[in-house]
Subunit: 162 residues, 2 copies
DNA sequence: GTTTTTGGTTGCAATATGAAACCGTATACT
DNA sequence: AGTATACGGTTTCATATTGCAACCAAAAAC
């Protein structure tokens, strides 16, 4: 549960989590990326309570991550689709999926494989890279306080935090 | 709140979220990546309730994402540090931070800049790439059900879900 | 040796979730 | 056309989490 909002924090991670940090949000977005569009798709696939789903969808719409559009097939109902803002969460979803595959996989293996569509091959690991495109070691990734941001109390640039 | 566990789901995203999907987990991991090691670091920086922090840290330790080690500076207390499993969440953190920077930035700009340590330059956007290393359009990323995974009810391979 | 800090734990009140029942409208069936 | 069913919710209630404040023992600081 979140009783406290992260939206007043300056940190972009906190601000992002304010939109997608709820238990179900990222799973709803994942399903939307896989083609779910209707209320019952999300509800049946996730096993989420209907009132909770209503609440999460409303939040995602308010956050500009999804939007309601008329049904694609001429029916009267409306459907839920990702906005560009929502689609750009793909790197987060992919990173989570790959981490899950590697570290906490189900005994039967992953249910979904993320691919390069045209080749059908498994997508290479999403990973930080240098300007020249070379993947880098995590210890070579740094974090620096932006100008004007309040200084942390702890020493922040250890020689090798990894 | 999570009353229902995602750990029985086969989906790697759900399984990953079972470990880091809690409200505070990713912010704690972010702080750990930035050098926080002590209970009070996390507590003061995040403004999280102490009992909640205790609970989240315990969960992260049980999940193998963090571990308690003797203090680095000779004091009697123990410190919380990321395991390799935890450090490999960096792509998730980075992706979230970059999404937040782009879409929901604070009016004063982001508080933290993720960099290539050696050059000090801002880290390029983390993004799905082909085998040859070229960044790809999101619509060229596919998701395919793994063998044996239950079929979704909805049409799953639309021509262009983006 | 006393005070303060640290790292918690223990209630308690507030809030979010899950489950099930209910409901109006839209489809489907005959 | 008329009835049955599916869909997309809303409402109510029990339960689970979080936040807050108070409290506490051990370690550090003075």
């Amino acid at each position: 549960m979140k009783t406290k909002s992260f939206s007043d924090m300056q940190c972009s991670i906190a601000r992002a989590l304010d939109h997608v940090g709820s238990w179900w949000s990222l799973l709803i977005i994942r399903d939307a990326m896989m083609g779910a569009r209707r209320f019952k798709h999300f509800q049946e696939n996730l096993g989420i309570a209907k009132n909770t789903l209503t609440s999460r969808l409303t939040d995602l719409i308010e956050g500009g991550i999804m939007e309601k559009v008329p049904a694609s097939d001429g029916y009267a109902h409306e459907e839920y689709v990702l906005t560009e803002r929502g689609r750009e969460l793909a790197p987060v979803i992919i990173a989570l999926a790959q981490w899950g595959d590697k570290w906490v996989a189900h005994e039967k293996g992953p249910s979904t494989v993320i691919t390069v569509r045209e080749s059908g091959e498994k997508l290479p690991r999403i990973w930080p890279r240098r300007e020249d495109g070379e993947p880098m070691a995590l210890k070579d990734v740094g974090m620096r306080r932006a100008n004007g941001a309040p200084q942390k109390i702890w020493h922040e640039e250890k020689e090798d935090p990894s």
